[in-house]
């Protein structure tokens, strides 16, 4: 232990606080990475993993706390790059229309001058060979022509490569998400080698086997704070899952513990050809859990688009959708609150395809009262509302329809706790009156409100939890695969 502490600090974030509106993304988190170590970073959704990564790579400036690279206080993306910090993002950040070596040219500004092409080529080739010996990637091909796994390999290789100076810290955010076991093992072996040569790595992965076998130290985050920071040898799969979870809270609500039977209101065969099938019965509140981005949203979209014509207006709506990313696929920013609310139920509000203003006003007023939208006038622009109130409007949009099934795509992200409680109340009463809710949520508290929960991992449903089995521990255990210890 003392050995590690004496090593040079590559990057140190201390007491970092970051808030997005009402949400504390980081609440005084410390993360210090020394030369020659691999730090594993784990935590459930919203624990603050990606936020702290963004702080370290210069993308976010902390509202409070200190950030130093090699002991010097510097800020910004270029400062981070100059200090040898590289980041492999979860979403692909290569230019898909360019070849492998051209992408290397963009990432490494010093590859200039005559013959940069062959130098870039040999740089990537050697690096790829070093990390993934025996790979079959043609470095002259366009990124578009590579498989997803190959793209990920290329991006990793470009990040580890250095023209004159090697990178000091490489941040890998779910680097093995599309690599097979063999390639993942090669990568983990390379990380260990890179670390013994004095480099450092910050590794984020949902495969705990990788974390345990590769990291020298493991940092566990929860609610924007670091809750455990110990040598990897002190953990095992079980204790890691335990460290991520909350202390068990009292259950302050009742739910249906009996499994419903009969013909389901909604069903879907197993996704990607494996895992469990999906079924929903009338009046059920079903949760979709698991780590973010493991196929829950896609499942909701399939359910929705399969039951909704793109060509003809549907006479009676049977299914409604509440968006999670408000700005991307929820609100219509040019419109008033009222128009945003009524758009899905115009059919009921009009006679002979012409909208009846009076009926629309009445609908607006009744929902304004019912869910307490805090505005003096429903004719105000939707963007004049706070995020939480905008979200309430989106809920009202779905609930105001005649649909008997409501799909929800993590709608409570970034909403304050008061609004959340109000919405939970509405959900429970609507479910009691026979509506079915399918609720994808990244928050454990919400998952625990559901009658039944499907846990997603890598695009498929891997577990079904009912009633008392819906505990944080069970959900975590299902969303993190143990993985072959590489």
């Amino acid at each position: 232990m003392t050995q590690i502490l004496k090593r040079e600090e590559v990057v140190a974030a201390r007491g970092v606080r970051i808030t997005f509106g009402a949400v504390k993304a980081l609440d005084g988190a410390d993360l210090v990475i020394h030369a020659g170590e691999c730090v594993g970073l784990v935590g459930h959704n919203g624990a603050g993993k990606s936020t702290i990564v963004n702080v370290i790579n210069g993308g976010l400036t902390p509202h409070e706390g200190s950030l130093t690279y090699g002991g010097r206080d510097e800020r910004g993306i270029s400062a981070a790059r100059a200090n040898g910090v590289r980041c492999v993002f979860q979403e692909l950040s290569l230019c898909p229309n360019l070849t492998v070596n051209e992408n290397a040219r963009i990432m490494h500004a010093d590859l200039k001058g005559w013959n940069w092409r062959s130098r870039a080529l040999s740089l990537v080739k050697t690096q790829l060979q070093e990390i993934f010996p025996g790979h079959a990637i043609d470095c002259d091909s366009t990124i578009d022509d590579l498989s997803i796994a190959e793209r990920q390999m290329v991006e990793i290789a470009i990040s580890f490569a250095g023209t004159d100076k090697k990178p000091k810290l490489v941040i890998l955010d779910e680097p093995t998400s599309s690599l097979d076991a063999g390639l993942a093992a090669q990568l983990m072996a390379y990380i260990r080698k890179f670390v013994t040569e004095g480099g450092s790595v910050l590794l984020i992965s949902h495969i705990l086997g990788e974390i345990l076998s590769t990291s020298s130290r493991i940092v566990v985050m929860k609610d924007g704070r670091v809750v455990a920071d110990r040598a990897a040898g002190d953990f095992n799969t079980h204790s890691l899952v335990e460290a991520m979870g909350n202390v068990v809270r009292e259950q302050e609500f009742s739910r249906k513990t009996t499994r419903k039977t009969g013909t389901p209101a909604l069903s879907m065969p197993p996704r990607r050809g494996h895992g469990l099938a999906f079924e929903a019965h009338r009046g059920e509140l079903i949760g979709l859990a698991g780590l973010g981005g493991h196929g829950q949203t896609e499942a909701l979209l399939d359910l929705y688009l399969g039951r909704n014509s793109n060509w003809w207006p549907t006479a009676a709506k049977e299914i409604a959708f509440v968006a999670g990313d408000r700005s991307l696929n929820g609100t219509f920013p040019l419109w008033s609150i009222l128009k945003n609310l009524s758009i899905a139920s115009l059919g009921q509000l009009s006679s002979r395809k012409m909208i009846d203003d009076g009926r629309e006003q009445a609908l607006g007023e009744s929902w304004k009262k019912r869910i307490e939208i805090r505005t003096p006038d429903m004719g105000n622009r939707i963007l004049s509302l706070s995020g939480g109130n905008q979200q309430k409007v989106l809920f009202a949009r779905a609930l105001a329809t005649t649909a008997s099934i409501v799909l929800m795509d993590d709608p409570m992200r970034g909403v304050d706790i008061g609004t959340k409680q109000e919405v939970y109340e509405i959900l429970r009463s609507e479910a009691a009156s026979g509506r079915t809710f399918i609720w994808y949520s990244t928050e454990m508290d919400e998952i625990r409100l559901c009658d039944r929960v499907y846990v997603f991992r890598e695009g498929a449903i891997v577990a079904e939890l009912v009633g008392e089995d819906i505990t944080e521990k069970n959900v975590l255990a299902a969303s993190f695969s143990e993985g072959a210890a590489a």
Binding site: S93, L94, C95, N97, R105, I106, A109, W116, T142, D144
Partner: protein, 313 residues
């Protein structure tokens, strides 16, 4: 050996050009000669240059609706000012290039849709052209005339020029560092920005370069026609877009090919001759061009689907 998608994208344009050429030769064997080829492809040179200019704009995910009027404007300048006082003419062209760079800056900074800004510019260029040359006339500079009517041995000028244009722009767009960065902006401008480059500067430079090629197009056009008028190249807006698309380029994603663009321009020019050889009445010539465009796009869609299916297997 796997064929890259870039090569596949070139196959259809090249094949359709070869097919058209074969059909023309079959119907009119006399076309298979030095003068015949020169006649067939003569008008292709300015179109190819304008297509290259449009392609540069499209490589950063924009579209230039002022291409036709701008080329007309350049032709008018070349036939008047450039001929009488070359220094002033060159200065005007430099000013035009700067204007193009400025358009790029404005579009980037204010996040404006390029279609509308260039639509406005098309009125401006058209107006300037009318001011410079109110009625058809002017004379081409002797050197432009000489270049365009030169008779190199063995291969006609039009072919030589097309090959030179294709080679030079292929180097700039596909091989040089600048070309890589420019296409990078079209492909994923966030990652270019993240790596520390100025996307604003890149877009301005791309627009300036496009302006430069459009100017060359105007000069080449005047060299062929010997005189100019303010509406001489209005068709070029649509022809240049169609040429890029025929040549395998795409509207978004930085997927462009200079060689393909030149081939696309040649195909469009040849299609006109082909249709007249086919004895298709001139009434249907424009329509047949539209039909060719649709057929090529349909073929490409089919090919893309095939490729995708292969990849997913």
């Amino acid at each position: 050996m796997k064929i890259s998608s870039g090569t596949i994208r070139l196959i259809i344009p090249a094949a359709s050009l070869a097919l058209l050429l074969a059909a023309v030769f079959y119907m009119q064997p006399r076309a298979m000669s030095y003068t015949g080829l020169n006649l067939l492809f003569n008008l292709a040179v300015p179109i190819a240059l304008a297509t290259i200019a449009q392609m540069l704009i499209m490589s950063v995910n924009d579209l230039d609706l002022s291409m036709g009027t701008f080329v007309s404007f350049c032709a008018c300048v070349a036939a008047t000012v450039l001929q009488t006082s070359p220094v002033l003419g060159v200065l005007i062209f430099i000013g035009a290039i700067l204007a193009y760079a400025a358009i790029g800056v404005v579009i980037h900074m204010r996040e404006l849709p390029s279609i509308v800004v260039t639509l406005g510019m098309s009125f401006v260029w058209g107006g300037l052209a009318v001011l410079i040359l109110p009625s058809p006339g002017g004379t081409a500079p002797t050197w432009a005339r000489w270049v365009m009517t030169a008779k190199p041995p063995l291969v006609p000028m039009a072919i030589v020029a097309s090959i030179v244009i294709a080679a030079v722009t292929h180097y700039i767009v596909m091989r040089s560092s600048f070309g890589v960065l420019m296409r990078g902006v079209g492909g994923n401008n966030r990652s270019v920005e993240r790596a520390g480059w100025s996307v604003l500067g890149l877009r301005a430079a791309t627009y300036a370069l496009a302006g430069f090629f459009a100017i060359l197009s105007g000069i080449a056009l005047v060299g062929l026609t010997t005189s100019a008028d303010a509406n001489i190249a209005l068709r070029y807006t649509l022809l240049s877009i169609a040429g890029v698309i025929l040549g395998g380029g795409e509207f978004v994603g930085g997927k462009v090919s200079p060689i393909g663009a030149v081939i696309g321009a040649l195909t469009l020019t040849l299609a006109g001759s082909f249709l007249s050889f086919m004895r298709i009445s001139p009434d249907w010539q424009i329509g047949a061009q539209g039909a060719i465009l649709i057929v090529v796009l349909a073929l490409r869609l089919a090919l893309n689907r095939l490729e995708k299916r292969e990849k997913s297997q």
